[in-house]
């Protein structure tokens, strides 16, 4: 992990712990946005993983999570922070893997719920990357999802309206198209 990414991830994880303890879904969503920006700039998978995890936490607490499932996750987050601060990448990755597995295995119903959240998180974050100025294919490749999947999601964003990129007028493009077919 690059130094700049590491220091940012430590900061994000450190802030995620009190946010999770206080069930602050807005703070967790903001942390996830920071992590996705990090992943976008540095194309770093570890940062992306943190974005997904913090986003999933945000969704969990906003829907009302029980104390029991959160406590072990908070402990694993702290372990991850300690490992990363000590520059122990191997221990860090193991912590995150355990955390991800824990999220998936807490309860059968919650497991299915989280599967959906994790999948939606990937798609949602994909559309945010798209809004950041990345191509659909680049986003799909970064997140390991299909363009088929991403197309429908980004089609429902308002990015064309909020960030217009009109390089050629509609009339001119239509004229080109008409010229192709006799």
């Amino acid at each position: 992990m690059q130094d700049q990414v590491r220091s940012n991830v430590v900061e994000i994880l450190t802030q995620a712990i009190p946010s999770l303890e206080s069930k602050d879904s807005f703070a967790l969503a903001a942390l996830s946005d920071r992590a996705i920006e990090l992943a976008a700039v540095f194309h770093d998978e570890d940062a992306l993983g943190i974005a997904l995890v913090t986003y999933a936490f945000g969704k969990l607490v906003s829907r009302g999570g029980e104390e029991k499932p959160l406590a072990p996750m908070i402990l694993l987050l702290q372990t991850a922070v300690n490992a990363l601060s000590s520059d122990d990448n191997s221990a860090y990755k193991k912590s995150i893997q355990r955390l991800t597995r824990h999220i998936q295995m807490v309860d059968n119903k919650i497991n299915l719920y989280f599967q959906e959240i994790l999948e939606k998180a990937r798609i949602k974050k994909g559309s945010k990357l798209f809004e950041s100025g990345f191509s659909i294919a680049a986003v799909a490749s970064l997140l390991g999802i299909s363009q088929w999947e991403l197309a429908r999601y980004v089609g429902n964003t308002t990015v064309q309206e909020t960030q217009p990129l009109h390089t050629l007028s509609v009339g001119k493009r239509l004229k080109i198209a008409r010229g192709l077919f006799t």
Binding site: E37, I136, S146, Q147, E161, L165, G171, I176, L180
Partner: protein, 230 residues
């Protein structure tokens, strides 16, 4: 032989709206070949065929290849030029000294095919790649707004890609759908005594359907197309 090159997006958008069938009559009216590069084939056919999701969509696209409406081009020269274009495109902008990898191989291979085959046009919905080819400086503002950091632009790389791609014309799936409408291909969706208003409504519905499946077109642009077609 005239060629029209397709990126993944328009095929995905047409398939998702049960409009893939318009490609055959359009190909006939084009009097040429519709090409897709290897990476596009992998993305929209080969990869989903081994998954559960979008497998049926992949079958539908594969059928278009098997009946010759679409033709796969699998050429080392395409891959090589695609890589060169990718390197250029992904070195135009940087943030904190790191290049921003905003484009992907598939999109670049579509451009590479177009250059090597001297294609009539590329059908590409992907707005970032279109902008990189047509007017890369426009992207800087969007990237700055999103990244909250100084975004640097490598003017040499930007100029080089614009020059390399200067003969490429790009149209989108919305333009294809509009041409299909103009040629009466969509008339089967109208009732026998359709008014001009209903025809316009049909076009509006098709353009929005294509937009909602990922085509990079704004509401203003759709309204402009409707105005032109009245």
């Amino acid at each position: 032989m005239k060629t029209l090159v397709f990126d993944s997006g328009p095929i995905i958008s047409l398939t998702g709206n049960n409009l893939l069938w318009i490609l055959e009559p359009l190909r006939d009216a084009f009097h040429g070949t519709f090409l897709i590069p290897r990476s596009v084939y992998y993305e929209i056919v080969e990869h989903p065929l081994v998954m559960k999701r979008f497998k049926f969509e992949a079958y539908q696209v594969r059928q278009q290849l098997e009946i010759g409406v679409l033709t796969l081009i699998d050429d080392a020269k395409v891959a090589k030029l695609g890589d060169e274009l990718l390197l250029l495109a992904n070195n135009i902008f940087s943030s904190r000294g790191q290049p921003l990898r905003i484009c992907q191989r598939g999109e670049m291979e579509a451009l590479a095919v177009s250059i090597l085959k001297n294609a009539s046009a590329v059908v590409m919905d992907e707005r970032i790649t279109r902008t990189v080819v047509e007017q890369p400086a426009s992207l800087q503002k969007i990237l700055r707004h999103r990244f909250h950091n100084a975004i640097s632009m490598n003017a040499t790389a930007a100029q080089k890609i614009v020059t390399t791609c200067k003969n490429i014309s790009i149209i989108r799936s919305v333009e294809l759908a509009t041409i299909a409408y103009e040629r009466g291909l969509l008339d089967k969706y109208l009732s026998r005594k359709s008014s001009a208003e209903e025809r316009s409504s049909l076009l509006d519905s098709v353009l929005w359907a294509v937009k909602l499946h990922g085509a990079a077109v704004s509401e203003d642009e759709i309204n402009e197309i409707l105005r032109i077609e009245k």
